[in-house]
Assembly symmetry: C2
Homo-oligomer: 208 residues x 2
Amino acid sequence: MKISELSDRSGLTVQTIKFYLREGLMPKGAATGATRAEYGDGHLERLRLIRAMREVGDLPVFAIKRIIAAADEPEVGLHELLGTVQYALGPHVDAPADDPQWRAARADVDALIAELGWRVTADAPARDLLAQTFVALRKLGFPVVLTELRPYIEAAMSLGEHEAGGLSTDEPRTRAIHRTLVTTVLYEQVLLALHRLAREHESARRLG
Amino acid sequence: MKISELSDRSGLTVQTIKFYLREGLMPKGAATGATRAEYGDGHLERLRLIRAMREVGDLPVFAIKRIIAAADEPEVGLHELLGTVQYALGPHVDAPADDPQWRAARADVDALIAELGWRVTADAPARDLLAQTFVALRKLGFPVVLTELRPYIEAAMSLGEHEAGGLSTDEPRTRAIHRTLVTTVLYEQVLLALHRLAREHESARRLG
């Protein structure tokens, strides 16, 4: 297909597509003339993925570039590739490494993960996010104890298992990235919305 | 205590405390002179709650005013009071009521909640949040089906039950608001962080 059709079908302007080509986010089309090229379904799929990364994941171009480079490198395994996607999604906490309260919270997070036996890298952004929340809870006088955390840990584990059930090295890498993006961003939003609704229902049942 | 001590102990400036007094967010102190007043522990507790609503919940003053008014009105039951807090926290989705895709998604959400038998008001903000997510999933070609939603519904129900277990009409209303705020905002952040960590662990277990 021509670039104009690629634009129609991806919902991106020709200008945007040319920018992505210049940035190396997708391979050039097959030249059919001095200024014309032919594009295939692979290009369309790539553009839809880039669009989802921008619109759903709110990812900057440099992060998209890193993910695309990993996707195009067969040496990078699926676990590492999907980790690149998840880490790019953040949230990136500005860790106040000098603050003793923060350091204590981060040590608690690391101890908790070790106790759970979870295989998570030392620089997973979610460690800092959890530490930040521990600090906030303690400042408000809410102790962070395992009995309080337990139901959340169990919910997270059961969802993590469910989502990992869909992982397969047979799945095309572009599709796997797409699904990681959607599960991480959109299903977390589904979870939050359902959590709010379930809270209201339980409150109505007990007090209403 | 004097207003200067109230300022020290609440971590808010005297100027901010005077602003809250003018806005009617807390009762005036007992006058001990033309320009001096004496404040009690109730004032301090109120200021800590306002501070948490601003800092943790990111709530604007008009929303805080509505919550405080409900807290101070004994006719407002605890379920309604805590609902006021949760609804104020949003997130407030700008519902594109003319969009047929949005209308279909919102109808699906309403049908789902009815099927689950959840007692949730028709204007709960989480209904719109869920509908918005359904629209985004469909646009990306991910069908929204009950088998996919089921694990998230179960996680939400089990957390909702756990959190409601702490509800009691014996608890001071200020403390109940405080706890709702913390559970809604901070424990949702705990849940997200744990979800990311559990995903990474499960991915490592299966693919790493």
